[in-house]
Amino acid sequence: MSESPRRTPPLRWRLRHILPYYRQNLWAFVLGFLLLVATSATAALIPYLMKLATEALTHRGTNDTLQETVLILILVALLNAILRIRSRTHIFAIGRQVEYALRKAYHAKLLSLDAAFFNRSKTGDLVARGNTDVLAVRMFIGPGFLQVANTAMVYAVTLPVMIALNPTLTFLALLPFPIILGLTRLLTTRLYRLSRAVADRFGLFSGFVQEAVAGMAVIRAHAREEDWQRRFADEVQEIYSAQMRHTRLQSLFGPLVLLAGGAGIWIILLVGGQEVMTGHLTVGDFVAFSGYLAILVWPTVGFGWILTVLQRGLAALERISQVLDTEPFALLPGEQGHALPKVTLARGEIRVRGLHFAHNEPILHGIDLQLPAGSFVGLAGRIGCGKTTLLHCLARLYAVPEGTVWLDGQDLLSVPEEALRQTVALAQQESFLFSTTIRENMTLGSPNASEAEIWEAARMACFDEEICRFPDQLDTLVGERGITLSGGQRQRLSLARALLMDPAVLLLDDIFSSVDARTEARILDNIHALADSRRRTIILVCHRTAALHRAEAIYLLEKGRIAAQGTHAELMRNAPLYQSLHQQMIRHEALESLQ
């Protein structure tokens, strides 16, 4: 995702994600612009007043005129300050509002995207986009607009006055400016790429650090610290180099614009000096002129600076746009609202017809399943045969093609998200816990669950007794990813979370892998009881095929195909793979070897 563009695309396209905000805030911008006009107008008065004052001083006019001018000067300065504060706060506020909206949009987008997208992204990088890059875009909108508008304004107001004073001198004094601006344009195109490179590097760097911190336990357990230190050093060096390449050009800006200002003064001195000596120009004019030039220099410096900020902002915007442009495969709940009829799913009948699924390589090949509501089936197979993938398809975490999976007779793709989530719950093979309390983790999908329901779900998952032993019970904090729980505790918490949803379809992915035999037996009893009630369709994936005895049907997956199906007894008779997967075989052999 980090390759830099060959050619810089048209600006309009690059701005596509913030143009709407510009439109929304059109009047705010207009008001801001008017405020700027007023600010510039008052600012332009100041050198003129100074000229008057200087002249009053030279001509030894009455002290009255001088005092009057001084008073006006002070008043104008104050007015100017007030206007400037107003205009700056007003315009920056627009940038902040857009920052807020953009951040919100980015966050919402991330929540809506699916596995395919995340598989090719790095967490740290995505976070950097939502943080540093959004900041850079804000600089683009608020200060960027201000500076551009301001520069335009200052020129618009100041230039006529200067021309009125002395056209030739104005022309000559401003001569260096366009040259400098031309140079600037040249620089910015290059700078755009360089700053994009810096932003990308920084994203990669954050990703690297993020991952290293997450995998620290492995690094330390294998005493690989030195190697990581070296890789980190390289990574840091990369950022440094990218940064320095950027700096080498970027450092030209400020001095260049200062040079333009200096050259202007020099020209005034050269030409204007002659004229003052010959009496064509007063010293007051001379003072005013250099004053105006001073007014022009800083906005132009700012303009140079802002060009960089704009480039950085554009680069950041592009990184954000990459994410915003990604589309999830299923419609979002909001968008579905009016597109789809309200449906009530409750029975939990699942039908799969010729389901093929591929990540990059094909993984599932023509899966057919027919699960009547209330059935209890097992899924078995060797590692990597596609069990989890199948469950993810059924839970619509992966994009299944249209017309392959039906839930209660409705195409899975057209089921509204909310209805789907209330109908189908999946306890994942590797549970993810958030760093909050046990309670928050458990009620993630059912925020309105009562205390009794929570405890009941915990009991079903055989987690209640342990919760009771924690000092804070349900309010115990579990740390990032549930780090402060034992492996089995994490697994049961995530099972309890799925059970609490009270779903019509319960998908259980290898939920016994980290629990001991006794706990397993107790949980299994609870699941059998659930199955017997026939109010739920249950699919149980398990490596310990012994746990599947009671299933009505067991599907045996092999390399993404259903290799065999039947009850436990049938499979033990007909399916050699199933036999060899069965634990009992090993156990018998082992027992024999013991004797």
Partner: protein, 605 residues
Amino acid sequence: MMPPVLAETEETRDGNLFNMHPYRLLWRFFRYARPYRGWVATALTLLPVAALLQLWQPLLIQQAVDHHLLPGRAEGFGAILLLFLLLILGQFAVGYLQSAVNTLLGQRLVRDMRRELFAHLLRMDAAFFAHNASGRLTNRISNDTEAVSQMISAGMINLLGDLLLLLGIAVSMVLLSPRLSLVTLVALPIIVLGTLYITRRMRTIQRKGRLLQARMAGHLTEEVEGRETIRLFHSQAKNRATYDGMNRAYLETALQANFFEAFQFSFIDATSTVVIALLFWYGGFLYGDAGISIGVVVAFIDYIRRLFFPIREISGKFTTMQSAITALERIFALLDTAPGIVDHEPVQVLRPPVKGAIAFRQLHFRYGSEPVLQGIELHIAPGERIAVVGPTGAGKSSLIKLLNRTYEPQQGMIAIDGVDIRRLPLAQLRRLVGMVQQETFLFAGSVAENIHLGDPEITPERVRQAAEETGAMAFIASLPQGLATPLAERGVNLSAGQRQLLGITRVLAFQPRILVMDEATSSVDTLSERLIQEAVERLMAGRTSLIIAHRLSTILHADRIIVLSGGRIAEQGSHTSLLAHDGLYARLYALQFAEGREQAVDGVG
């Protein structure tokens, strides 16, 4: 002990944890500049040069006005013009150098600081990571250091330059006309008080802003990692609301900050004009007095403009400095957190051959207030195969985490070949004890990289061999690029069983003297498990092993079985003796065997 952290980081509230004086902080920070003395010297030398180039310009103008323009004398004017030209060209060159050198310095210091921070993190222990949100640590290395670099490249040196300039201007003004300079004094209290007020307000606002920013980043990180869970449990709306709350609060602080920024920017500007106005007024009185010529007034105006520009800059840079100093505080606080687990002096290196006898002596351990392990006494002979079983939450994982000093017991000790493991160099200990953790962590990198982890000792052949032994090669070979196939973050493009298999392969490739496996085959099928067991038997022949397993099939091969329950060793002995004992183990075993019987009835028989 600290509570486990929330994603939102308490500590970003900064300041209260450590009360180092800012100057001491800065002083300490300057040490990082030591290797770059040459560059610092360059940057510092450029400062007076730049100031001189600037200050000279108004003087030249004054001369031009008084000696040439007003009297209309043309000779000598050319020299002034030439000098002026040289000055602005010099200013350009010096300006470029300054900007480049300052950024270079900032970036270099930050580069070193980042390396030090990372090296420090590598030394920290598991308890530290359990109690410090990873987002926060990442933030230290990436964003806080960036703030510090800003301080160098945009703040500190320029601040010095500004101060120097200010001083130069002040001196020139006093030299030019002491009386007119008095007028400028009027502005002093206004500016000082105003700046103080604004800086103080800005500090509170900025802190709040940074806290919110850190929280949002933490939130986002966790959401990205837990995206499937969020999806499955349909909690997007709730997550959006939480995030929106922070986002909105951030907007509010930002709007407040805006006002003060604008105020800061404008009030100094206005003050400068007022001072110029007063100058005219006062000049009106003094005009004609000795030394007050029109040229002097003109030069004064120019000086005042130049005077107020650095003042405005200084107050702006104050803000940059402030956030950099709080960032520094946090960075140093992290660097000052001593790693809890270090080599104990005198370090004692175990000489090969290491036999692999392990002794746990009267171990007591707890994470927080609840005891997890109590009075563990266990002696393992070299080459012995030990299995540890017990209910979930019994403390099995905790026990082995003590063995490679992931955690340290509060009481008791562990010895390998009679040597207290605290005396062993950590690196040796961890190479000695190969540990397959309950959760396999894979890095984004190739499959091979995840096996050898960058260790040059582990040759490609060894990687391949280990993968073949454990049976991992079967699936690796079917990946598009075999061992070179890139894995996604945390290896999410593999199945759980495949990940676990890789984890085992990794440890076997390291060929440790002591093998520890924590539920290492929990997610693999029976066939794979058998392959793994055989590989372990072969590779670990004669080496000590400690295997935690819930599936009794895994442990039948063990020489001795330890039953852990409630943090104590409840039973131990061989399979047969434990069955005879008819305790917890017998019950656990019966459960699994009972299924076997049931299955024997309707199955193969």
